[in-house]
Amino acid sequence: MPRQRGSALQAGMTLLLACSMAQAGEWQPGWLYYGGDQGGRHYSSAQQIDRGNVSDLEVAWVFRSGDSAAYGEEMAKTSTQSTPILLPPAAGESLVYCTPFNRVIALDPASGEQRWSFDPDIDRRGDRPFRCRGVSYAEESRAAPGGHCRHRLYTSTHDRHLWAIDARDGKPCTDFGTGGKVRLYGEEGLQPGDVSNSSAPVVANGVVVTGSTVIDFARATTPRGTVMAFDSYSGKPLWQFDPLLGHAASGSANVWAPMSVDAANGLLYLPTSAASPDYYGVDRPGDGLYANSVVALDLYSGAVRWYFQHVRHDLWDYDTPAQPILFEWRKDGQHIPALAQLTKQGFVFVFNRLTGEPLWEITEQPVPPSQIPGERASLTQPKPIAPPQLLNPFLMPGDAWGLTPWDRGDCAAQLAALDNLGLFTPTSENLTLMYPGSLGGANWGGGALLGDSGMLLVNVNNVAFTGQLIPTATDLAPEEEKQDHPAAGHRMRVTMKGTPYDIEIGSLQSFLGIPCNPPPWGKLVAVDLLKGTIAWETALGSVHEMGPVTAPFHIEWGTPNLGGGIATAGGLFFIGATMDRQFRAFDVSNGATLWQYTLPVDAAATPMTYQYRGRQYVVVNAGGHHMFQRGTGDYLYAFALPTTGAKP
């Protein structure tokens, strides 16, 4: 259980920090947080670049971190997912981001020239991939004005350390922990890489909170998914929260996706993942609270304020993958502090973020039982009555898709042989359709909310997987799988040591290697949260580079995608994320592609934008993703309008 803290801390920190945080919030239009704001709206009020001139965008500068040269073959284990933040003038006004190896780099926002860098020199042992989605900034009012580490950056590393460094020079804050860092749970007694970090910590009102990334599929009982909070000044531990409430027969339910915080109301929102092992729940009977949930904690004490579990007794690896989106619900004269939660299943749940009361009714969807002895799958699963699911989870033999009658027939035959009762069909010893699979639906890219309009733009994966539980007695257990999801065309054998089964997962595709479900295989969906409807959707990505030979023209059938997009007041939505090296701008009103640029490698990261010295820049980290197996890099691209075309 979380340790309780007195209200004095809460009151004191709020008073001390309110002024500086407010000042930071007034600095516009910047990008001070990973998700644009602390509620992950992925939105900028910048509008210099708009529908009318976006086609004129050009490369303003390119920065290379040097990782490719420095780390060589280790780059194959990376995915470059970082979204930079722009520091306020008082903090040096640098553009700051992290590389997969947790190097933190500050750049000149106009030129992309490096100002400083910080290398935590992480322990790179283990097989887990390297990634860093971002760093967090706060002005620490308890530090001397103008002094070192008055303005701080926080970053959680692959090797489980939380660092505080000065935002202006990148030097560790010696008053934080030991030499600027604190050790996080997960290093002691575990194999290197068993517990790591991917998302940025959150910091608000004197509290810095970090989650973790845990291998939750390889063993029955995996490391705890403990969320830890520290004093942002000293690094002293404040509280811990175990999402599984100490239940011993399981592990994880960790928070690997970005968290959100409502600083004004002192609420922290955790997107929790599945309990271990992902696909077998006999030894963890019951719903498994607070796994697969969005959990609202008191920022200062870690006490649970409310929660919503979107998958009960998960058997599908349906982690809560995306940052909870905090926004103002404005409907029928009501103004309600709201939270929208995207899920891998392709649902959008909307709540009053102060109370947890759903703003769209949540119904109980009856779901099929499990055939595995002793497995008591939940009888129902939650489903919002609106908006609609972002993908159609039914795939019948008659829906099989192929380029020719032969591969289509192959897919139809495969589908006819699958166990397939739609979403939440438990896997069994028969080959079972997993649609959506563990890739989603939505994933960690989250969604972008178009200002206060209630229009949410979400990039969605739309590829069917299959899964099959394999009794371990029938085969020698393979070497432990290192992937979270199967790569394209790859069947992934995952151990679940301590259970009677392994699981084999792969994408459902024909002998030609083409997905069996109809395209688009990745799409962009505009959801009207207030109406509870889908306004429009369009394919996201071209498959022209996914075949054995690159086609000379784009084939917009959508691709699997990782990373998110951002919306701007200029009526634009910017996104990379696809497996075609493209960085695109869409018209938010209708989904039309207005501009695109070919990057050297895929940009599996969420972009950001800012206006600096009168010029709006759009920046995206392009370094590929190890799962895509399409090459890596260490690029940071900035785009802007030609100087002559920029409005003051």
Binding site: E361, P366, P368, P369, N392, M396, N420, L421
Partner: protein
């Protein structure tokens, strides 16, 4: 417990109760609960007023051990025990009593407009919390929501929708009401048609569009949804007993209350019959054999390839017993055959049939002749047990096209099911008049209802003459004869109970006591003059007193309680039905049950 004298219909339904069987059941209950002491639970609202009726359902916390080693089911000949689930209702004082259980139990308290509560003992006082307005509207049964769908004023389209989409599922349930795109609705409709629905292709897009539009309108204006019928005070005089059998993949379709005291229930999807002793809950499973070279789905082919579990080589459908020797006759829908179950040897006998497709509902007449409908080939078959021969009666086609389709069936069925063409359905069900329900009037005449053709057929076994009679309503599904020779028929799409008086050649109809019901079947308690009707969209069973022309309504203890058959115990008048929602996992609790309605002892 203080039981008030059962009022009204209880006297009509159950004269002379308690019967010997009820005494026996009470004794058995006492034996099962040797430490039993009557406890009383009082249910109140937050203002301290007694709540009545509150449905109180008692379930064993730990289910009995069972041998389910045959792919999750009991192997052939194995006996397991089903722990009975009891439901009673509070009286005007808000009180309800149960004998103490010998094992840990849990009570669920459910009342209209209140949030469910759970307690571990039926003692003391429980306060139910009222639902919010939003929760209450959301909790309404499907029928009241469905009543507000008008399909843009196209009543014919709504009837087509109900005919094809409401014979397995409750429409307008919360699950159905959720926002979907038109494409998602079309996908669902197309999938359902592969499973056996016959929504005309031309209507797919229209129905998808209207469902999206009108469900959205209902969500935005739920105030237009009428309140469901309130539960009645007389419910305190009844007990509902359920026996869960099978699992979430099963479908307990039709069943039989046999004079030997057992109930025989057919699992339509797993080729098993369950012989259940209602006094003990013990059931023995008998697995219907099939030819080794037979494929899943029999001659019909397997429509459910994507289902994880299926074992329907024969397709156990409808039951009737011989008054001569008690043997049970069963229609195997997936075969050209008739099944006979010898109740002494517990062996199945398969009587191969020379023609006809989809053996459906079955009855045995006083001459020990076995009559059943052949739903797909629009025929009625008679099996003469003496000569062991079948006589097949063709029912007339409605036109040349239908005649041609019906005559083409043998050719179509000679084609491998994988490659068999499937005629595109239209609103009239051309090619599929579908003789469905069947019964025999006291004068020996055989009566059949044709669901898609909206007509009745009468076969005179003496003359072998077939007479067709137009049915002036829509959707004659199942029918039963009363003691006076009248036919009672449910009009599925018209939500009516219909009587046909053959002597006067006159139809009469009665509105059902719940709105927008799509009644599937009925049965007549000839001795007590009561017609019992399935209420599938409203989670109810409906009882119509023929003499008084009045209704009583019995709420079912599970949501999405979809019933297709009703049987009445000749011995004591107890009323039975099965929860055969398809798929079963969509029913509350996710398991099929046999349910009995009995009056409580005075």
């Amino acid at each position: 417990m203080t039981i008030k004298p059962p009022a009204g219909i209880i006297r009509a339904f159950f004269p002379g109760v308690p019967t010997m069987r009820m005494h026996t059941a009470a004794v058995a209950l006492a034996l099962l609960a040797p430490l039993a002491q009557a406890g009383t639970l009082t249910v109140k609202n937050p203002q301290g007023q007694p709540l009545s009726p509150v449905m109180v359902t008692r379930t064993l916390v730990q289910q009995p051990e069972a041998d389910l080693s045959d792919d999750g089911y009991a192997p052939d000949g194995v006996t397991n025990t089903s722990a009975a689930v009891l439901t009673r209702f509070t009286n005007a004082a808000g009180e309800v009593s149960f004998a103490d259980a010998s094992e840990p139990v849990r009570y669920r308290l459910r009342a209209q407009g209140y949030v469910d509560a759970y307690v571990d003992a039926a003692q003391g006082e429980v306060v139910l919390q009222p639902m919010t307005a939003e929760q209450e509207i959301a909790s309404y049964p499907s029928n009241v929501w469905l009543s507000q769908l008008d399909f843009g004023g196209d009543q014919a389209l709504k009837e087509t929708f109900q005919l094809n989409c409401a014979f397995c599922h409750q429409q307008a349930s919360p699950f159905m009401r959720s926002e979907r795109t038109e494409e998602q609705w079309v996908s669902i409709i197309e999938r359902m048609n592969t499973y056996g629905a016959r929504l005309p292709t031309d209507d797919h897009q229209k129905v998808a569009s209207l469902l999206r539009e009108e469900y959205r309108d209902l969500r935005e204006h739920p105030e237009q949804v009428p309140k469901p019928r309130p539960w009645d005070a007389y419910l305190a005089n009844y007990e509902l007993t359920e026996w869960p059998i099978g699992d979430g993949f099963s479908q307990m379709h039709d069943f039989l209350v046999h004079p030997n005291g057992f109930i025989y229930i057919g699992d339509n999807l797993f080729d098993r019959i369950y012989q259940l002793d209602p006094e003990t809950g013990e059931y023995t499973v008998y697995k219907v054999p099939h030819d080794e070279d037979m494929g899943l789905g029999g001659i019909m082919g397997n429509r459910f390839k994507v289902f994880p579990k299926m074992y329907n080589y024969m397709g156990v459908h409808s039951f009737a017993y011989s008054k001569k020797d008690g043997n049970i006759f069963i229609t195997p829908s997936m075969q050209q055959a008739l099944l006979e179950f010898d109740i002494k040897t517990k062996q199945f006998i398969t009587h191969e049939m020379p023609e006809g497709y989809y053996p459906h509902t079955i009855r045995v007449d006083d001459q020990d002749r076995v009559w059943f409908t052949l739903a797909l080939s629009s025929q009625v078959a008679m099996f003469d047990r003496t000569s062991k021969t079948f006589t097949v009666y063709d029912l007339p086609a409605r036109g040349v096209k239908e005649w041609f389709i019906l005559k083409s069936l043998p050719v179509l069925f000679s084609i491998d099911p994988e490659n068999r063409p499937n005629p595109s359905p239209d609103r009239e069900g051309t090619g599929l008049p579908m003789p469905y329900g069947i019964d025999i009037t006291p004068d020996g005449k055989v009566w059949v209802a044709r669901l898609y053709a909206n007509d009745l057929a009468m076969i005179d076994p003496e003359t072998e003459e077939v007479t067709m009679i137009d049915f002036p309503y829509k959707g004659p599904r199942r029918l039963r004869a009363d003691a006076d020779g009248n036919l009672w028929i449910v009009a599925f799409q018209d939500s009516l109970l219909v009587k046909y008086d053959p002597a006067k050649k006159a139809f009469s109809s009665w509105e059902l006591p719940v709105i927008n019901e799509v009644p599937y079947a009925l049965n007549v308690d000839r001795e007590r003059g009561v017609v019992w009707v399935n209420g599938n969209q409203s989670d109810t069973i409906l009882a119509f007193d023929i003499a008084a022309e009045s209704w009583e309504v019995f709420p079912m203890p599970r949501q999405r309680f979809f019933t297709r058959d009703i049987e009445i115990s000749e011995e004591d008048g107890a009323v039975y039905t099965t929860n055969s929602h398809f798929p079963t996992w969509q029913s509350e609790g996710g398991v099929p049950t046999l349910l009995r309605i009995t009056p409580l002892e005075n």
